[in-house]
Assembly symmetry: C2
């Protein structure tokens, strides 16, 4: 298929390259920032950087709008495409309807459920791609496009997709922040972060097989007051980490009371 | 070596079996609870369940005390061993000194940095084992014992070990709780938890290679007020999750301001 990519941020960056890799034709890359659109287009054989959202003279099958949620509506307002072109955004949190103002377009969503940083390559072949579309025909085209990228393609309506995105914030964004705090603690104690890697991998492996609430371990669920106090004392130089420690400890204890548990060791 | 295990909880359960597997001789298993000590001893060739902490008539080289931190001091008070026996606890948070009241013992620590649940088998061969001992000779014996279990053996003094344990609470216990919340959100939206697995694995893989603070993504670091408000609204039925969402969002934003970042997409 012939494709235009709107955006050159983390998602657009990896999605455009993944499309090119599987043989799709990315014809145009739009970004407000000249250097961004030129950098990305230079990585895609046959792609041109474009400075305008008026694509009436750019014949493509699909326009993928991969821009931050906060600017999506503004970008959509300025977007013009040839009649019958599919316009799909890549956002987990935005409804399909946000695209309805694009005149003559068939609208859809292609949300890659993954975290993207320019500094790290991503293998798309197993990334869940969540699709939604205004009609069956549009959905089928997006299925073909998504299926060329990944073996994990799912049709998910707006409300469910928003819940997936919310769950992803807890499982990815918040987890990443905790891993950052954990590494900072190690660094300040002059300990190598590699020591925690087997523990982190086991935590994640266990959570994929069992209900994490049922396998909760540590001083919070054991209600080990001495250790909890000791940890808060050790965090005295980091009031922000203390607040997080207290709130998550409390939440673990409430959860385990509700579940009738409370015996994690380890 | 001939070994006695004190405790039959998650840590004792897996440690004792791992020792037996590599050919160490677990001779005795103590637990207050008859069924617990009998269940564990029955899995260890040649091991006897014992009902008393008086081990003066039980000739072993090493006594491993794997009990919850909150009862460690009490157990140690009642423990009697033959002179020259090594007594080592397995706690991340307790000092070596907690063992000094055991008459005639040589004291040490063997802390397996891992999360243990009885319901899940654990491969010890790469688990970091953190050692401390009162003297070089004791340390060398513990090194041999630990080395028979794992290729990752480290000597770490009490203060550093406590910081490792604190970091592990953030990286494992708190992360596990967030994964639990995330699965609950999916469940309530009738979505399969498998959808999040590639995202979680990528988050952890990225954190092992880069500073998590530098690769933070999501609506918090993007300061996407609309999405943040929408998520808090979706969590209205779960005030506890709302508080966690707000505090971690705030912490991510403070961190990214301090680091001079603020542009994560995905």
């Amino acid at each position: 298929m012939n494709i235009a990519i709107i955006g050159a941020g983390n998602v657009a960056w990896h999605l455009a390259q993944a499309l090119a890799t599987v043989g799709q034709q990315v014809k145009a890359v739009y970004s407000r920032t000249p250097k961004s659109r030129e950098d990305l287009a230079s990585l895609l054989p046959g792609a041109l950087p474009v400075a305008s959202l008026d694509l009436l003279n750019v014949p493509v099958d699909v326009v993928l709008v991969a821009v931050p949620d906060a600017v999506l509506a503004t970008v959509v307002d300025e977007l013009h495409v040839q009649p019958g072109t599919i316009v799909a955004h890549t956002s987990g949190s935005q409804p399909l309807q946000v695209l309805q103002t694009v005149a003559g377009a068939r609208t859809g969503v292609l949300y890659p459920l993954q975290t993207f940083s320019k500094s790290k390559q991503v293998d798309f072949s197993h990334i869940p791609l969540l699709l939604e579309a205004q009609d069956e025909q549009t959905l089928n085209t997006l299925k073909v496009l998504a299926g060329s990228l990944s073996s994990s393609v799912h049709v998910v309506a707006t409300e469910a997709r928003k819940h997936l995105h919310l769950a992803a914030v807890f499982a990815c964004n918040f987890t990443n922040h905790l891993l950052g705090i954990s590494q900072q603690i190690l660094q300040e104690a002059h300990l190598p972060k590699e020591l925690l890697q087997p523990l982190i991998e086991e935590t994640v492996a266990k959570a994929s097989q069992q209900d994490p609430y049922n396998v909760q371990t540590g001083p919070a669920v054991r209600r080990d007051a001495n250790v909890l106090q000791d940890h808060l004392r050790m965090l005295q130089g980091h009031p922000r980490f203390q607040s997080i420690y207290e709130l998550l400890t409390q939440s673990i204890q409430v959860q385990s009371s509700e579940d009738g548990l409370g015996k994690g060791q380890g």
